[in-house]
Symmetry: D3
Subunit: 131 residues, 6 copies
């Protein structure tokens, strides 16, 4: 259960509704995710996050699927259940196959393990890693 | 400063030294990173991590550079300074350009931000994200 | 579901019950939150946490509402679902308006984002920040 | 040591330099923090973070000092050394007294402790905390 | 709800099924936990984790119950709900009494608290702690 | 560098000094760790943490060395460098051998890895783990 009500279109103010409409148009779907409905209590924040998200996740030097998998990785490390579900779904929608997902998880698990070891051992950074 | 001495080749036991040699051979370098030298106090762990790492990071459904960038993302979220330095260097060695690094960081920052918002709002997972 | 049973008044021992009664008296309510009922398996810990909590959250150089919002911020960053719910409710009870909550979340999200960037970039601390 | 060079004014491109100048003007200082110099490799990200930061940290329903203390709290929970130093300094510049800092730390410590207990016990959320 | 279907014996491939059978034989139970059923989509990862887990958790310089309690401590700090439940159950099965669990939680809570304080204060490491 | 000056005996107030003296007496050493000197700006917090620490870490259902290793595990998962150094040193002083340390680290690494996998897979808790 959210710490704020999820706003329906009727409950959202004009500014939030404009962002809902933009989400619908850009994503070509009638569905607006719960995340945006929860964020709609702060229309300025809703708009800022939605607009920055589009810029960040657009094709560029990295392709959108790679970006989604990086997003999943961060969300796992941060333990955000909602984000793991939503970005795993988004990665699938962008072409992540079961084999790719398996490798993504294997890398996340490997990193978590060596992160813990390097931290426990307080390993000093090798000079060669410093630019 | 590490919580254990970093073992030189002379100090490492035969089992650890064999892994050091394998690292040198596979990576085609004389240098053995501090991480492995710290881990050498537990030769079985050293060997297990090194062997699993090679399997996980090998080319597969995802290419090695993508895997390195996912590794960096997890290391940032876990706050592992050593890992951030070493895997950023590894990603560069595998072809990460400044533009790619900038996008990697932008995705990490975006994910950190929405992770925090979804967690603060305790947003329930949309039914459509459930398989 | 908790990893221990939540103790009812009947199940709690005399020492835990005394703390329950103190919670009821100080908070002027008959309700004892699940957190305290779970903690009651260790009456000494229950008492220590409850007493320290009162001292820490009392009015002082910072007002109690500011303290509750700081508590929410830490709970979000630590991903503690129970704590996010209970301290968001407590902050509201102490006067947090929707506008204040929106700003609290915006700061949390901003901090999460720049935390990730500063960590990813391993930015060295400016001399001027050192006392 | 940063994972990227800190860009001097001479090394920064025109777009980044414009943001540096805006930082100098708004903060009424010649000094540009290392964070911005590291971020300057991605001028769009630099500008987006700087502009959003000003909007989020401006006076509103919460006063700027309260916001800085919340920022410190998140940075501590995320273990971001740079952010702890820079926002502790910023909070002092905005009026945080030693007594306020002591209370801030006491709340952070209290929250960390009860976060751990509630998570270890997996305490279910009380119905009364749900809106 | 998992981000992948939990594979039944019928759905698991031959390689995963062989690991399921090994789990059943070693643990002397017909039950295969959800964790392994979720991991079975990547039979190589399933096998690697299961085999390494047995080696790590076997009696050695530390007894298995101590290892389980350390496992619980890490899982709490990482906020992994599944792991907290499963390893708390495992610790109980290996002899953790309510008194031991209470002390385990007290240490976890104490550590969380002083971790936060040392991080907030950015306390430099005493020379005497360096080997 | 700490975010507050480390107080010498001369700089500490009477209340903090009394706690310093108690630390010296109980630990039978003249040395007072940096952690306590940083915490001395808040004498009430210093005293509360020191007294609770003694109670929590005293011999009980768990022996003090086991408690120190659990403390290290939590500190690693929370990424607290100071705490990792100080409690690794304390564990050694209480009898942790290199073999025990190696197993401690192996468990921490194993837990970090499976925590990440269970979180990434969002594995639902098995009914049998619920009391």
């Amino acid at each position: 259960m959210a710490t704020v009500p999820l706003l329906t279109d009727e409950q959202a103010g004009a500014e939030a509704l404009a962002t809902f409409d933009d989400i619908r148009a850009k994503r070509q779907t009638d569905h607006v995710n719960n995340f945006w409905r929860a964020l709609a209590h702060d229309p300025a924040q809703l708009k800022a996050v939605w607009e920055r998200l589009q810029a960040v996740m657009a094709p560029g030097a990295l392709d959108p699927l790679v970006k989604e998998m990086i997003y999943v990785a961060v969300s796992v490390a941060n333990g955000c259940s909602y984000c793991i579900h939503s970005h795993t779904a988004a990665a699938r929608a962008k072409g992540m196959t079961p084999a790719m997902q398996a490798e993504l998880l294997a890398v996340i698990a490997m990193a978590a393990q060596t992160n813990a070891l390097a931290t426990a051992l307080q390993v000093p950074v090798d000079d060669r890693f410093l630019a």
